[in-house]
C-alpha cells in the first residue's frame, strides 16, 4: 500500500473496531440483573449449522461471557456477559472468526411483539371457532331445546375470550380510523361481530333457536389468518433488508490537539477536527484533505463510475469511500450539515408516493361499508313496516350484517399479496408492504439511475491486445494489495491464487502502482505515467490500465463498467409492456449516452444533482405520470422517496434501501419486469376476488333480507366464499410455472448484443 507509513492502515483498522464498541456496546446492551448484561449483535455472515457451533463454542469459552446463542433466522447473536472490569471483547473475537458483527438497534426492533400478539389472537380464535363449530353442528342436526340452550351458553362462554383477545385487533384499528373521520375494513367487521354476539346472547336468554356465535368467531379466525400472513410477509422482508451490512460511517478516529487519537461517534465531530481516514473507510463528514492523496469511490454519492483523485486541500464529501491510501482530513461541517444529512432533509421534504396512495381495500371499504349498513338499516325498516315485529326486524337486519360481513373481502387482498410476495421472495425480491405491489401495478414510466443500477458499478476487463496469461499474472502481482476498483477487477479475472508480490510496491494516487522485480521496475496504471510517453495526444477510450516494464509498454487492459445481467432484456420487456424507460444519472453525459444507446433508451438526462432528480420525479408525478424509480445511490434516495413506487438493489446505500419499496438481492435486472409482472397479475386477481365477493353478496343479501338466513346458511356461505377467494389467489403460484418458458425465449438472443 503506502511506503511512507507501513502498517498504519492495519493499525487504524484494528483501533477502529476495538475502540468502537466499548461505549457504544454498553449503550446498546441491556441489563438482565445480577450484573449480567445482554448484547444483541447482528452478524450477517452466519449461514449454516457449523457457523452456529463455531461462534457459540468460541464465545462461551471467553472470560466473562455467560452464554452466547445464535439465531440463524434473524442472523443475530445474543451474548450474555458478566459485568466485571471491562466488557469481554466478543466483537473483535467474532471478527477474528470471520463474522464481522454490528450492534443491533434495539429501538427499531418492536415488530416481533406484534407477530406474537397476532399469533396469540389467532390461536385463541382458532380454538374458539373449532369448539363452537362442533357444538353448532349438533344444534343444526336437531338437538332438543334444553340441550340447544346449554350448547348456546357454552358457546357464548367460549366466544368471550376470543372476542376480547382476538377482536381487540380489529376494534382498536376501527376505532383509530373512526376517530380520524375515516372508515376502513375493520369498521363493518367490528360492528358485525359485536352485534352478532349481542343478538346471540339475547336469543340464548330467550331460548331462541338461532344464535350466531359460530359465525362471529369463525369470521374473526378467517380474518386473522389473512392479517397474520400479511404481517409475516412484511416481517420477512424487513429482517432480510436489515441483515445487509451498514454502509454509513458511524464514527471516526480523531486526532486531538495533544497528538493522542481517539474514536468519536459521527455526531460529536465538530468542524476543525483532524480525522485520520484509513484506506477502505467511508468519509464520516464533509471536509478537506490535509495530508496525503488518494482516490475516492463516489459512485453512491454522485453516480460517477470512475474513481476521483484527491490531493491536499481537495474537498471530501461524506459517504465517499477512500480507496487507496490513508488520508488526514479536517472536518468542515458537522454530521447534521453534511451531504448525507442534506439528503435526509430532501427526503423528508419530498411527499412520498406512499403517503398519497390509498390502498385498494380501504377504497373498497369506503364504498362498501355505507352500502352494507344502509342495506341492513333498510331491511330493518322494511320488516318493521310490514310486520311491526321489532324482534324479527332486528334479527333480520343483523343477519344481513353478518352475511355481508366482509370475510371474503378481508381475505381478498392480503391472501393475493402474500402469495405474490412469496413468488417475489423466491426470485430474491423483497417487498416492504402490500401497498407497494398495488402501486407498482399502476406505473407507466420507469426511471433508472445508471451507476450501480443499470450497471453493476464495478469495472470488468473487456479484452487485452495480448491475452497472455503471464501478463495477467504480472499485473495481478502488482495489483494484489490495492483496493482500486481496476485492481480488484484484475484480481477477480485471475482468480484466487497465491501470488508472490513484487518488492517496494508503491501506489501513486491518480497514476497507478509501481513495483520492483529484480532490477526491473514494473508499472501498472495510466498510459503516460507507465510508459513515460509525455505526448498528451493519446485519447483515452474508456478506462484502461497499461502494464509496463522499465517504461516499455507490455500490454493494455481495457475496462468498462458492466451492465447488469439481463439489463437489455429487462428494459425491452418493460417497453413491450407499454412502459416508458428513462435514465436520470449523476454521471457524465458521455457515459450515460453510451449506456442509454446500449439499452435502447432514448430518454436520458445526465449530470443530475440529487435535488434535480427529485424535482424531475415530482414534475412527472404532478403531470399525472406514475413513476417507478429504480436507484441505488445516496443521491437517488430523495427521488426514490418521491416516486410513486421505488426499487433498489441490495448493494444500495442504507438510506436508499430504506426509502425503496422493493429491494432485489440478485444481480440481474430482470427483477424489475418480474416484479412488475407479478404485481400486475396480483392486481388482476385482487379485482377478481372483489368480483367474487360482490357476486356472493348479490346472491346472499336477498336471502338475508327475505329472512331465510339461519346460522347454518351463514356458516356455509361465509366459508364457501372464503375458500373460493383463497383458491383464486393460489392461481398466482400455478400460472407462474408456464410463464418463464415463453418470456425468456425471446430476450436471450438479443441480450448477447450489448455485452460485446
Amino acid at each position: 500500500m503506502s511506503c511512507c507509513a507501513p502498517g498504519t492502515e492495519s493499525a487504524l483498522d484494528l483501533n477502529a473496531t476495538s475502540a468502537l464498541p466499548e461505549d457504544e456496546l454498553r449503550a446498546g446492551s441491556r441489563e438482565l440483573g445480577d450484573g449480567v448484561w445482554q448484547t444483541d449483535l447482528s452478524v450477517p455472515a452466519v449461514h449454516c449449522g457449523a457457523c452456529i457451533s463455531t461462534i457459540e463454542q468460541a464465545l462461551s469459552k471467553m472470560d466473562g461471557v455467560v452464554s452466547a446463542r445464535v439465531n440463524l433466522s434473524t442472523r443475530r447473536v445474543a451474548v450474555k456477559w458478566q459485568d466485571g472490569n471491562a466488557i469481554p471483547a466478543f466483537v473483535p473475537a467474532l471478527a477474528n472468526l470471520g463474522y464481522p458483527a454490528h450492534l443491533f438497534d434495539i429501538t427499531a426492533d418492536g415488530s416481533d411483539k406484534e407477530m406474537n400478539r397476532l399469533l396469540k389472537a389467532l390461536a385463541i380464535s382458532g380454538f374458539a371457532a373449532t369448539n363452537i363449530m362442533l357444538l353448532s353442528v349438533s344444534v343444526w342436526s336437531g338437538a332438543e331445546s334444553a340441550t340447544r340452550d346449554l350448547f348456546h351458553w357454552v358457546s357464548a362462554l367460549i366466544a368471550i375470550p376470543a372476542l376480547i383477545w382476538s377482536g381487540r385487533i380489529f376494534f382498536s384499528s376501527a376505532w383509530t380510523a373512526l376517530r380520524h373521520g375515516r372508515t376502513n375494513m375493520d369498521v363493518p367487521i367490528s360492528i358485525g361481530i359485536t352485534l352478532a354476539y349481542c343478538m346471540s346472547i339475547y336469543e340464548t336468554i330467550h331460548h331462541g333457536e338461532h344464535a350466531y356465535f359460530d359465525a362471529a368467531v369463525s369470521l374473526l379466525f378467517f380474518l386473522l389468518i389473512g392479517r397474520t400472513l400479511d404481517h409475516l410477509m412484511r416481517e420477512k422482508a424487513r429482517v432480510a433488508v436489515k441483515g445487509l451490512a451498514r454502509l454509513a460511517a458511524r464514527g471516526a478516529l480523531v486526532e486531538q490537539p495533544d497528538g493522542s487519537r481517539s474514536w468519536m461517534p459521527v455526531g460529536e465531530i465538530m468542524p476543525g477536527m483532524h480525522i485520520l481516514l484509513a484506506a477502505g473507510e467511508r468519509v464520516p463528514v464533509d471536509g478537506k484533505v490535509e495530508t496525503g492523496s488518494s482516490e475516492l469511490d463516489c459512485a453512491l454519492i454522485t453516480g460517477e463510475s470512475a474513481p476521483q483523485t484527491v490531493m491536499p486541500c481537495g474537498d471530501l464529501r461524506a459517504g465517499t469511500l477512500n480507496l487507496i491510501a490513508p488520508l488526514t482530513m479536517v472536518a468542515t461541517a458537522r454530521a447534521d450539515q453534511s451531504f448525507l444529512a442534506e439528503m435526509i432533509r430532501l427526503m423528508e421534504a419530498a411527499e412520498g408516493g406512499k403517503a398519497r396512495y390509498r390502498r385498494i381495500a380501504d377504497r373498497a371499504s369506503q364504498l362498501y361499508a355505507p352500502v352494507v349498513h344502509l342495506t341492513a338499516f333498510l331491511s330493518f325498516l322494511g320488516w318493521m313496516f310490514a310486520t311491526g315485529d321489532w324482534h324479527r326486524s332486528i334479527t333480520i337486519a343483523i343477519a344481513v350484517l353478518i352475511i355481508t360481513c366482509p370475510c371474503a373481502l378481508g381475505l381478498a387482498v392480503p391472501i393475493v399479496q402474500v402469495v405474490a410476495a412469496r413468488r417475489l421472495f423466491e426470485k430474491g425480491i423483497m417487498v416492504k408492504d402490500g401497498s407497494a405491489m398495488e402501486r407498482l401495478a399502476e406505473i407507466n414510466t420507469v426511471v433508472f439511475d445508471k451507476t450501480g443500477t443499470l450497471t453493476l458499478g464495478k469495472p470488468r476487463i473487456l479484452a487485452t491486445k495480448a491475452s497472455d496469461s503471464a501478463h495477467y499474472l504480472a499485473a495481478a502481482r502488482l495489483a494484489q494489495n490495492s483496493r482500486h476498483p481496476l485492481s480488484v477487477a484484475l484480481l477477480e479475472e485471475v482468480g484466487a491464487i497465491k501470488l508472490e508480490p513484487f518488492t517496494n510496491v508503491i501506489e501513486v494516487p491518480g497514476f497507478g502502482i509501481e513495483g520492483h522485480s529484480g532490477p526491473c521496475i514494473w508499472r501498472l496504471g495510466r498510459r503516460d505515467w507507465a510508459t513515460s510517453e509525455t505526448n498528451g495526444t493519446f485519447e483515452s477510450r474508456g478506462t484502461e490500465a497499461v502494464l509496463s516494464c522499465d517504461g516499455k509498454e507490455i500490454t493494455t487492459f481495457h475496462f468498462a463498467d458492466q451492465l447488469r445481467p439481463d439489463a437489455y432484456a429487462a428494459v425491452a420487456e418493460l417497453a413491450q409492456n407499454g412502459l416508458h424507460p428513462a435514465i436520470l444519472s449523476g454521471d457524465t453525459s458521455r457515459a450515460v449516452e453510451q449506456t442509454a444507446r446500449q439499452l435502447g433508451i432514448s430518454n436520458w438526462l445526465a449530470a443530475m444533482l440529487p435535488a434535480e432528480k427529485l424535482q424531475k420525479i415530482e414534475e412527472l408525478s404532478t403531470s399525472g405520470t406514475k413513476t417507478l424509480m429504480v436507484g441505488d445511490g445516496l443521491n437517488d434516495a430523495p427521488a426514490l422517496r418521491a416516486a410513486h413506487v421505488s426499487m433498489a438493489p441490495a448493494t444500495a446505500a442504507d438510506i436508499g434501501r430504506n426509502a425503496a419499496d422493493f429491494v432485489f438481492l440478485r444481480d440481474s435486472l430482470s427483477a424489475v419486469p418480474f416484479a412488475f409482472d407479478i404485481s400486475r397479475r396480483a392486481g388482476k386477481l385482487i379485482r377478481e376476488n372483489f368480483a367474487i365477493a360482490v357476486i356472493y353478496n348479490f346472491l346472499a343479501v336477498p336471502l338475508a333480507v327475505m329472512g331465510y338466513v339461519t346460522p347454518l346458511v351463514a356458516a356455509l356461505a361465509m366459508s364457501g366464499s372464503s375458500i373460493l377467494v383463497v383458491a383464486n389467489a393460489m392461481r398466482l403460484m400455478r400460472g407462474e410455472r408456464k410463464k418463464p418458458a415463453n418470456s425468456t425465449r425471446m430476450p436471450v438472443g438479443i441480450s448477447m448484443e450489448p455485452a460485446e
Binding site: 449454516c48 449449522g49 452456529i52 457451533s53 463454542q57 445464535v70 439465531n71 440463524l72 433466522s73 434473524t74 406474537n116 399469533l119 396469540k120 390461536a123 385463541i124 380454538f127 373449532t130 369448539n131 334444553a146 340441550t147 346449554l150 357454552v154 367460549i158
Partner: protein, 48 residues
Amino acid sequence: MNTLIYLIPVALFLGGLGLGGFLWSLKSGQYDDLEGAAHRILEDDEKP
C-alpha cells in the same frame, strides 16, 4: 344429557390444554429461530 355435563368440560379442558401448550411455546421463544433449530439437530452435543 347427563353424559354431556361432564363430556363437554372434559373436551374443553383438553382443547384448552392444547391452546395453553401453544401459548406457552410461543412465550418461551420456541418459534424465534426455526431455521437454526433445523441445523442444531445435526450438531453433536459437546462432551460434558
